[in-house]
């Protein structure tokens, strides 16, 4: 830093006509305005809240929540704190958004490819799907999903039971849950090891093919290892876990794991809706790859499936990934419609019930916005990393 100003002085001098000086002054002025504006907003808000006798600060996060939440992946009771309730809501949001992102991407790819199919029926069906889903407001779709999921299902007493221990009723789906005992450690280690082995084989085969052109059925081998080794251990060492079977009692089932209809409806709604947009993005991406590429691949004797997988899609991804990212962000943000159908996501639990109880709107809303911002930035960051990988490497 010490040498920098002297260097600058020698080269440019402190005249107004100097663009560097101008830019410093303009930036200084801009930053001054921004900082001053922020400072005015904060102090005015504080003063007004104090004048209106409205409580402020985040001290409330430690107070007892006192309300129940219907779905929680971490231990939570009415005695837990608001901070804990915040976590429960956050995890519920992440869960529905995370699974939704995976499902919507897969479905969107299939529909997008189907839309370009030479089979008239397939492409028309895909077209219809896209147009219907894109053009109905998401909130209506959620209500539709929710009440069509609920209405035909029987009450718990007359549950449908497609499989032993699996029950389907208007309170959701209940399945037996695994209870891991001591013998499970070995099993888990075996599963992890076989996953690593499978991955190593695939990488090795790819390298070898690139170097020598020889093809090795890597995927099949890997799958055989990943499924086979744990199965072998299961057979030899006995089941690594016991099953906790749901039992009918009073109003519903005790034990087992359950998916509540609110979750299913929200996941379904978000997935179907976002997949329609993703399908259009995928279609556009594929169409952006010049037809000469496909013809060249055919000329080399590649079959249709491989042409798509090895030639077209890798090039299409460059076009697909950036807009795909914004769809995935949309899905996450749209999950905040959950409260309409009583799924306890972050907005329902924290910006809903907690806000109602504490009345600290500014703190609660600011924190909620910060969470969505963080989720979005992290998603963008990961997608940008991926984008950098699929982007054309200039050589």
């Amino acid at each position: 830093m010490a040498g920098a100003p002297t260097k600058g002085k020698q080269k440019i001098g402190l005249k107004w006509s100097n663009p560097a000086v101008q830019s410093v002054v303009y930036q200084a002025a801009l930053i001054a305005v921004v900082l001053y504006g922020g400072w005015v907003i904060v102090t005015t808000t504080q003063a007004n809240l104090a004048r209106l006798n409205i409580a402020t600060g985040f001290g409330f996060m430690d107070n007892t929540a006192g309300f129940g939440i219907v779905q929680s992946l971490i231990p939570y009771t009415e005695e837990s704190s608001y901070g804990r309730a915040f976590l429960v809501g956050l995890i519920n949001t992440l869960m529905v958004a995370g699974i939704g992102i995976v499902l919507a991407t897969i479905l969107g790819f299939f529909v997008g490819v189907a839309r370009l199919s030479s089979n008239w029926l397939v492409s028309r069906l895909a077209w219809t799907y896209v147009e219907v889903m894109r053009n109905i407001p998401l909130l209506l779709q959620l209500f539709f999903c929710y009440f069509t999921v609920l209405r035909p299902l029987p009450p718990p007493a007359d549950s449908l039971s497609p499989l032993e221990g699996v029950y389907l009723n208007n309170r959701g789906v209940v399945v037996p849950s695994p209870v891991f005992g001591e013998s499970s450690t070995l099993f888990v280690i075996a599963v992890l090891l076989s996953l690593v082995a499978g991955y190593a084989i695939i990488r090795w085969a790819r390298k070898r093919q690139a170097a020598t052109g020889e093809i090795f059925p890597a995927w099949r081998t890997a799958i055989a290892i990943v499924l086979g080794v744990p199965a072998l251990i299961w057979l030899v060492g006995g089941a690594p876990f016991t099953l906790d079977l749901p039992v009918y009692r009073g109003f519903g089932f005790d034990g087992g794991m359950r998916l509540i209809p609110e979750f299913i409806a929200l996941l379904l709604g978000l997935t179907l809706y976002t997949a329609a947009f993703i399908a259009e993005i995928v279609r556009a991406g594929i169409l952006s790859v010049s037809h000469g590429q496909t013809e060249a691949a055919y000329a080399l004797g590649l079959p249709q499936g491989r042409t798509l997988r090895l030639v077209v899609i890798p090039q299409a991804l460059r076009v697909i990934v950036p807009p795909l990212t914004s769809q995935l962000l949309n899905l996450t943000k749209n999950s905040s419609l959950a409260v309409a159908i009583a799924y306890p996501d972050l907005v329902a639990v924290f910006a809903g019930t907690v806000l109602n109880q504490t009345g600290q709107a500014i703190e609660v809303i600011a924190l909620t916005m910060a969470v969505y911002l963080t989720i979005s930035l992290v998603t963008s960051f990961l997608m940008n990393l991926y984008n950098a990988r699929v982007a054309i490497q200039e050589r």
Binding site: A4, G8, A20, S23, V24, V25, Y26, Q27, A28, A29, L30, I31, A32, L35, Y36, W39, V40, T43, T44, Q46, A47, N48, R51, L52, N53, I54, A55, G66, F67, G68, I69, V70, E78, F143, F147, L150, R151, N170, R171, R249, G250, F251, G252, P261, E262, V339, A340, I341, A342, P344, A348, G352, T353, L355, N356, Q357, T358, G359, Q360, A361
Partner: protein
């Protein structure tokens, strides 16, 4: 690249310096001092608190009262198909408008959902909140509200499907309960089941309609809200006879109007308008006999109707304020019977809401 970084750095330092220099100046008048709001209502005393403390003047200038009400709760505030509102909460606002303007139609009703009602009051969007709102300590102290009193003593109950075989609240152990988010109801459920050691699941919907639809589709075993609301809910069901309201009341829900803190005069007007309705009931002053009651010999009636003392002036109104209220809206008993009483569809008995000397607990401090 390096140049740009330097420029940014210097800009930052300079900018911070400028802000620092200006800070003391900006601080002196204080953020409250240069609020545009203060200038806006400067027709009264030119002090910073003017805005918070001058609701009456604002309402008069505007020419109407803005009153936050329920989006649709029969008996409390409910619009008909012509957009005409009726209900106890609505009539209270009409009483207030009558006291100020001698005209019960000078009210704009602003329908609010449970979640947003307090923000609407805090932000000044409404002058008064009259939306079946339970008076609780945290709302009174943490939200910057002042409750004017109790206009309806309520309590929370449950409604269940008859075919479920549930007869009373003890049968609800393990049940799933539907309710609306942003209400005291949501919290009382947790209290009740916890204190009895019962298991339960609660589903909180943003809108009451979805909560009811979910209950109707048997997603929950019971729907819960204030007992007065349950009577209305039962009427909304396809076949009301298929539903049972359980006998237990699990909470105290004193419902009443609320105003923003910091305007004692406005709070007094809100409070004494409510008390005037109740006192008129106690003294037998009705919309039909109010003109002849003006000639009454009873000092209590004379004070109420402005024949003696200057009670209206004490709260910034005219002395015939109660005459205006009763002439246009009637007394508490008339309001109650018209909206929720035994001759209405809701058919609710006075019960707790009967006057203190008639077996209830409805009691208003005297006007004297």
């Amino acid at each position: 690249m390096e140049n740009r970084f330097q420029a940014l750095l210097m800009g930052l330092v300079l900018g911070a310096a400028i802000v620092y220099l200006f800070m003391p100046i900006a601080q002196a008048p204080g953020p409250a001092g240069n609020r545009p709001a203060a200038a806006e209502s400067a027709d009264g005393k030119a002090r910073p608190e003017v805005r918070a403390g001058n609701t009456l003047a604002e309402v008069r200038n505007r020419g109407e009262l803005v009153c936050g009400v329920n989006q649709g709760l029969p008996g409390f505030s409910n619009p008909d198909d012509k957009g005409h509102w009726s209900g106890i909460d609505v009539d209270y606002c009409r009483a207030l408008a009558s006291a100020i303007f001698d005209d019960p139609t000078k009210v704009k009703f602003r329908p609010l959902n449970a979640k947003d009602r307090f923000t609407a009051l805090q932000s000044g969007e409404i002058d008064i909140l009259s939306r079946n709102t339970t008076w609780t300590m945290s709302r009174d102290t943490q939200l910057g509200l002042d409750f004017a009193g109790v206009s309806y003593y309520d309590g929370q109950g449950f409604i269940v499907h008859k075919d479920s075989g549930i007869e009373n609240a003890a049968d609800l152990d393990g049940a799933t309960i539907c309710t609306q988010t942003g209400t005291t109801t949501e919290l009382n459920v947790a209290d009740y089941f916890r204190s009895h050691g019962y298991k339960y699941k609660v589903l909180s919907y943003e809108k009451n309609d979805e909560a009811l639809a979910a209950y109707d589709n048997h997603r929950c075993d019971a729907y819960t809200t204030d007992a007065s609301g349950l009577a209305a809910v039962r009427l909304k069901m396809k076949d009301p006879s298929q539903h049972r309201i359980l006998p237990e009341i699990i909470s105290k829900e004193p419902l009443g109007p609320a105003v923003r803190q910091g305007d004692p005069q406005w709070a007094d007007i809100a409070r004494w308008t409510l008390f005037a309705l109740i006192n008129a009931d106690e003294l037998g002053v009705t919309s039909k006999n109010v003109e002849e009651m003006k000639g009454s010999d009873s000092p209590r009636v004379r004070r109420l109707l402005g024949g003696e003392g200057a009670y209206g002036h004490m709260i910034g109104l005219t002395d015939d304020w109660v005459v205006r209220i009763i002439r246009h809206v009637g007394n508490y008993s008339e309001v109650f019977e018209r909206n929720v009483g035994t001759n209405t569809k809701l058919g609710i008995e006075r019960g707790l809401n009967a006057l203190w000397n008639k077996g209830g607990i409805m009691y208003a401090p005297p006007i004297r």
